[in-house]
Structures are given as structure tokens and as C-alpha cells.
Amino acid sequence: MEPATRLDQNHELSLRELPYIIRWRDDRCTRCGRCTAVCPVNAIEAAPHVHRRVFSEGSAPNPKAQREIVHVVRQVTDIDRYCTGCGACTLVCPNEAIEPEYNPRHKFLTYKNRGGVPFRRGGRRNDPNPSTVDQLKFTRISMLTDPALDAGRHEFRIRTLLGRNLPPEQLPLKACRGKMVVSKGDGFIPPVREIYPIRIGSMSIGALSPHMWEGLAMGVAYLNEVEGMPVVMCTGEGGIPPRLLKSRFARYFILQIASGYFGWDEIVHAIPEMTEDPAAIEIKYGQGAKPGDGGLLMAYKVLKLIAQIRGVPEFVDLASPPTHQTKYSIEEAVAKMIQSMSMAWGFRVPVYPKISGTKTAMAVLNNLARNTYAGALCIDGEDGGTGAAYNVSMDKMGHPIASNIRDCYLNLVAQGKQNELPLIAAGGMGKTGNLAANAAAMIMLGASAVDMGKHIMQAAAWCFGDEYNRCNLCNTGRCPRGITTQDPRLYRRLDPDKVAERVVEVFKAADVELRKIFAPLGRSTELPIGMSDALGVADREIAGRLQISHVV
């Protein structure tokens, strides 16, 4: 009989409680140790097991039992070292001996609150179902009166406008001998940029590793300077390397200011030395992945470089407040902030706020609609990602982007301001890999542009994350791909040149796909913003809500 102490394991978890279970094959494993070395959470470890081996020697059967010690790879059941399913072990295994398997019956969240601290992670909403945007199809194909366009040969202008477009009635134009001329000094003309309609959304240097950020930036510069595609990317909250800011490449970047104002002391001081204006200024009021939460950069990610760029001491937690501390009412404070930021660059740079998707988006929208200095409104839906947040915020908070953008667009149409204030849709673009289709659908619902974050991390840097809470370790600084870490041992795994190459590939492929979508619809000269008659969906409820065709 076993001693009583051996049975008393009531306060331990079994593997069945965990979201991923390691399948390890004794017969294939060479005990090289690579998997245990690479595991970012130490979920597996080499362990000795005592095996009872039965063998027989000689010509006649003569079974004998022998106990021997063997080394195995064992998964631990410590909730703080749970297997995240990232699969780095599988990747490095030379012999296909190990693989994490998703356990759909796990009870992980029931236990992952040790110390009274709820589960925190990086990543995205854990919802593997296709989003509304992913269900939309393009059903209006030019067939009858004129043939569809040739996506490969026709000239396409896939561009959009970032910044406020004056209503035609307010343009300071006058006719002079058959020509229209601009009457100088006749009112304020807001700055507008012509950009590519898919942007790289805000991801900070700090949240991202130096190699990742550098790779994205190089890719964007290449797209602009070599491919002639005016792609822009947003810095996220955390500044921008001063050398880059003072370079000619600054025009490809949208500088984000958020509630922590990190990096802005450095930016403000660099303004006199800047040779190019930035693409725009984004004022972050909210984030789709974690509405109501501010940004958070954990202390162990605040290394020397990050501390310098952000203008803070090393190794301190950098938490941005959930709201701007100067903001006490949207009417005044947002307007003032937009105006202040505009003023900093002599009113030459579009300034716009980014908010999380919300039922109250319309109130913000209507405020901006009346503010001459507001350059756009970016709405970040519930499928957005983040580097660090409470699981509950990510899984349960937020608003789907499709109806949010549609409502806002139709509201602008009712006011006749649909071209005046561009809407930018973010959150879940390319969630299932259909970047161009998602972008086109959002554009036809009324967005002028879309932002992507997770998609480019996955597509350009091989990020493991998915909607089954796979990996999602961005907040720990132990990203196994070297994307969201400041640990040189990890980020050296990521080659910035390869990231840049992939960024270019992603955009060029999306560009071809956008043509493949726009060509059959017969659109090529201007972006089909609000061309809702091109959309169809099999779900009647969605069709009714978005005011598009119901097709079955």
C-alpha cells in the first residue's frame, strides 16, 4: 500500500487543466535538450524517471525485471509555468519528438489568478470564430454592360487621403479667366497626405524589439522609396529614435502621443532639427484590445535604448494612465490637444485621435466633425491586439469594428461629411489571413484606411500567437520569436532584413489582392469608400445591421 503522503496531491493541477499538453515521444527523442532550452516559460524540463524493464536472455524465455533510470522531457503542472503552446520546442526539435496539443477542455482561467492577480497576457481576443468582416463577400461584379477590369494590366490608383478634406463649398477657390485658382490667405486649408490605404498600426519601440521595429521601418522605407507605395506606420506610444526622426524618412511615420507621453520630451526637442514633417500625429485615447486601460511596458523591457528614447530611467514599469490626465471633457480637452499638436508642426501635419471601438464612438465622431483641426478618426475594434493587458479586457471588452465604422460612416453621410473626416478602421484586419479582403470590406463599409498590427507581426516576423491563447507572451519579454522582447539573446533570433523583406512581400501581395477585388467591381481610379452595394453576406442579421445585401 502506498503511503498516505503520496496520495495527498489535492492542491496540484493535473495536465488536463492546462490549455496545452505536451506530446513527447520517448522513441524519437535524442535527449539533445534543445526543447527545454528554448521553452520561454520553462513548461518542460528534463526529468529522471524510474522505469521497470522486463527482458529475457538466453534461448528459452526467462523474463527478468529490472529498474533503471531514464531521462525524459516532462511537462510541469505549475500554473505559472503553463505551456502556452507556442511550439518553439517543435520548431527546434531535430527529430519531431515533441509537440504541444491544444486541450479544448482546459480550465486554465479558473486557476490563473495566483496572488489575487488576474491573468495578464499579450496578444488578442481569444475568439477563433471568423469576425463579421471576414464573413463579408464582394458580390457586385461588373458583367453585363461592360466587362470587368483586368487586374493585371489596368492602371489602379490604390491610395487614400489622411487628413481633413474641406467641404467643396468651403474651398478657397475662385474662377479666373476659365481657370480655378486658390485665393491665398482665405481661410485654413487642413493638411492632407495621400497614403496607401493599409497602414501598419501603432506598435511601440519598447513593446517591439529593436530588430522587429527596425525591420518594419526598413520595410516601410523600401515600399515608399523603391516600390512607390506610400505606406505609413505608426510609432505607438514610446517615441521614435531621434536619428530617424531627424532623417528624411520621418515622413513615413505617424507619431503617436498617448496618456503617458513617453518619448515626447525627446520628440519636442527634436522638432527644430527635423527636415521632414511626420506623416501624421495620432493621439491615442483608447485601444481596441483593452478599452479603458493605458499602455504598459514592464520594467524588464525598459533597457538602456528604450529608456533613452522614452526619456525615463531604466528598469521601471512604464504604465500609461487609462485616460489622458489633462482630459476632462471631450469638447474642450480633445480639441485643445488636437490644436496643440497641430500647432507644434505649424498646422502642416494631420492630427487625429484613435479611440477604442465603442457604442459612444458617434459622440466622439460628431465632436470631431465640427472641429476643423481634426484630421480623421481611427477606431480600434475588439479584435485589436496588445503587448500587455488583462485577459478580461481582451476577451470581454470592446466593440466589433464593422458596425462601429458603418454607423459612423452613415452618420457622416447624413451630415454630408463622409469625405471630410476620414475613418480609419483597426482591430482584426487580417485576423484569418485575409488582409486585403478585410481591408476592402471595411473600405466599402465606409473606412478610408485600415490599420494592421498582429497580421504584420505574424506575416513578417513569424509570430506564433493565435486566438487559442497560443504563445501570447508579449507581456513577459520572453517572446520566443524575438518580436516583443528587449532581451538580446532572444531578439537576435530575428533578422531585421528578413522582417523588412516580408513587410514588402505582404504589402505587394495585398496590393495585388486589392486589385483582384476592385477590378471585378469596376473600380480603379478612387478607393471605393462606402461602396456598400458591392458587399453581401449570408447572415441576415449582419446584412440588416450593416445595410448591405443579404445573399445566400
Binding site: 491610395r159 474651398l171 477657390l173 480655378m180 492632407v192 452595394d533
Partner: protein
């Protein structure tokens, strides 16, 4: 695809000239309708240059309602044209309607000395009210209410309709006539879906498919101008864009081309008026037609024009002699309309071109977006 024939002349001519030209292009229209807009009228309207003419179709009940409304508004009917129908000719496809009419009115007393803009507002208001009055039971269709302009629309083959209405009898003549032979595609055969479309002196007809119809319609209807309604056809927006850019915004006619088929940023840099053009392109972005379309129209001063976008694979053609030009969708129609012209001077406007025929059909100008000196 709809077949189009516009003729502009220094002399009055019969709409049968347009209809015969449409007939040569019959391969391309299915005879599902005829639309006619006549401007600068002769014939029996020659003496009513300043008074507004209400054109439409109505049932007997509808006509009574219409008369009651006009009387109540203070309009005084001074003349009425009705086609001298040929009883032996085949009737229109959807059956003969009770009344086809063009009534000339005297302005209400209060409006006789008002400015033109105020009078135009009154006419628009009356037309829209009449439209609303007879739209549900289809008892009244009113197509235009404007001085010196008559509109006639009916379902059926253009040539048969021309004979049925006896349009060659000399009672209807004009110096500019736009005619469309309808190819029914996207919409039900419905009189309000039949172009040419007319609004306050501006008129266009179009063939092709307007792929950007919904955003354009949403933009126009949100301008706050009461006349931007209807849109039973995706072609109606072309007339309203013309009205909006030329009348409401005050842009010269050539900018209509720049608005509906905007240049790229790089091309704009080559234009002397690039700065204005860039602002215009941005602010009027939703009005880019994105085609493929060929648009033929006229403005209040009698200038006729043709434009098309880059996707229009089979362009329309303009040709003629000083004193008579035709703007048509097919060359055979041009041969019928102005056979005596020098064919080498025919002009098919391409991607960047706009063909402009001066009032009185004096000259044909080939305007190019990239070469605007």
C-alpha cells in the same frame, strides 16, 4: 448599352433627326425606351422663350391633380402642347398613356420680377411636389420644368415612338436635342429611370455602368440641395454632378471632367492650376465616376460636351460642320446625323479629353486635361 445621339445646330431641327440616328445604332439598344430633351426651342414654343415649360406624362386623374396644384401655386397656363398622335402607328410598349404634355406657364405674379435663381428654386419646388403627388400611383411623371426646355420620355422603340408621336410634324423643333435609345439592364422599365436627366438648365445622358453610383449618390443627396433626388437610374448622378460643379460651385465646364475623372497626384503637378485642382480632387473625391461611362450633356448657355473615362473601351464620337455638330455613341449615328462633314475631323475623346461644342454649334474644341494651355 444605351445608344446616345445629341445634335446641336445653329438652325432649328426636328427630333426625328436624332431618332433616325438612333435607329442606325439599333444593334446596341433593345428599343426599351426613348428619352428626348429639347433646348432652345422653335416650332410652336418659339414665342415662349422666357416662360417655364412643364413636361410630363399623366393619367386623366393625374392631369387634374397637376392642374389643381399649379393653379393653387399661382401658375397661369398659357399654352399646351400635346403630340398629334398617329392613331395608325403602333402604340408604346406599355400601352398608351392618357396625356403626354408640355405646358407653358406664366410665373405666379409674385415671381415675375424675381431673380433667375429664385425663379429656378420655385420651378424646382413645383416639379418635386408634382413628382411626389403622382409618384405612388404613377399618375404623374414630370421630367422638367424650365424655360425653353421640353422633355419627352416613353417606353418602346425610338423610331416607332417618333412615328406614333409624329415628331416630324414641325410642332417640336430645337437647336439642341439630346436623345437616348434605351438598353434596359439594371432597372425596371420605369419612366423616371430614363435619361437624359435635366436639372435647372443642366442635362446629361450616359451609357455604360456607373460602378461608383452609391457613394456618388450618397454624396449628392447629402449636399442639402432639394433637387438631388430620384436616382432611379445610376445615370442621373452625372447630370447632378454637372449641376453641382458648374452651378453650385461655380467651376468652369472643363472642371467637370477633372472632377469625374480626376488626374493622379503626379499628373496634377503638370497643370498650371494644379494647386486648385489638388484641393478640388480631394474635396470631391466621392464624385469620381470610375466608369466605364460616356457622358453627353449641355449647360444652360447651350454648350454641348462629351466626356468619358479611361475604362470606356468603345468611345463615343463627335463630328460635324460649323453650324451643326453631333455627339453620338456610335459612328454610324454620326454618319446619319451629319453626313456632309469631313470625317477626318471626327473626334473620339479619350481618357483625358473633353469635346466641347460652343453654343450655336459654332466650333468644336478638343480640350485635354494634361494640355490645358
Amino acid at each position: 448599352m444605351c445608344r446616345l445621339c445629341a445634335i446641336t445646330s445653329s438652325e432649328y431641327f426636328s427630333p426625328m433627326e436624332n431618332i433616325l440616328a438612333l435607329n442606325t445604332m439599333k444593334e446596341g439598344h433593345d428599343g426599351s425606351g426613348l428619352g428626348l430633351v429639347l433646348k432652345d426651342l422653335g416650332g410652336e414654343f418659339g414665342k415662349f422663350k422666357g416662360q417655364p415649360i412643364l413636361s410630363g406624362v399623366a393619367s386623366s386623374k393625374g392631369l387634374r391633380d397637376l392642374d389643381n396644384y399649379m393653379y393653387a401655386q399661382g401658375f397661369e397656363e398659357i399654352h399646351m402642347w400635346q403630340p398629334n398622335v398617329d392613331e395608325s402607328a403602333p402604340e408604346p410598349e406599355t400601352g398608351r398613356r392618357d396625356h403626354y404634355f408640355a405646358k407653358v406657364y406664366e410665373y405666379p405674379q409674385l415671381y415675375r420680377d424675381r431673380k433667375q435663381k429664385e425663379q429656378e428654386e420655385l420651378l424646382l419646388e413645383a416639379r418635386l411636389a408634382l413628382r411626389e403627388l403622382g409618384e405612388e400611383d404613377e399618375s404623374i411623371f414630370v421630367f422638367s420644368f424650365y424655360p425653353d426646355v421640353v422633355t419627352l420620355k416613353e417606353v418602346g422603340d425610338p423610331l416607332e415612338l417618333g412615328r406614333f408621336f409624329r415628331l416630324g410634324d414641325g410642332s417640336l423643333e430645337a437647336r439642341i436635342i439630346l436623345a437616348q435609345g434605351r438598353q434596359n439592364t439594371n432597372y425596371d422599365i420605369y419612366l423616371y429611370a430614363c435619361h437624359p436627366f435635366f436639372l435647372q438648365g443642366y442635362c446629361t445622358m450616359t451609357n455604360g455602368e456607373n460602378t461608383a453610383f452609391v457613394p456618388i449618390m450618397e454624396f449628392l443627396t447629402s449636399r442639402g440641395f432639394p433637387g438631388y433626388v430620384g436616382y432611379n437610374s445610376d445615370s442621373e448622378v452625372f447630370a447632378h454632378i454637372l449641376h453641382y460643379t458648374h452651378r453650385q460651385l461655380g467651376y468652369p465646364l472643363t472642371y467637370y471632367k477633372d472632377v469625374i475623372t480626376p488626374l493622379s497626384e503626379r499628373e496634377i503637378d503638370t497643370r498650371a492650376d494644379g494647386e486648385a485642382l489638388r484641393l478640388m480632387r480631394r474635396s470631391l473625391r466621392p464624385l469620381c465616376i470610375d466608369g466605364p461611362n460616356c457622358v453627353i450633356g449641355f449647360t444652360p448657355d447651350g454648350t454641348a460636351f462629351m466626356v468619358q473615362d479611361a475604362k470606356k473601351l468603345r468611345p463615343g464620337i463627335v463630328g460635324g460642320v460649323p453650324g451643326k455638330y453631333a455627339l453620338v455613341s456610335e459612328e454610324c449615328g454620326l454618319d446619319e446625323a451629319v453626313p456632309e462633314r469631313d470625317k477626318t475631323q471626327d473626334f473620339s475623346p479619350m481618357k483625358y479629353d473633353m469635346a466641347i461644342v460652343a453654343p450655336g454649334a459654332r466650333t468644336l474644341t478638343r480640350w485635354n486635361q494634361l494640355n490645358t494651355k
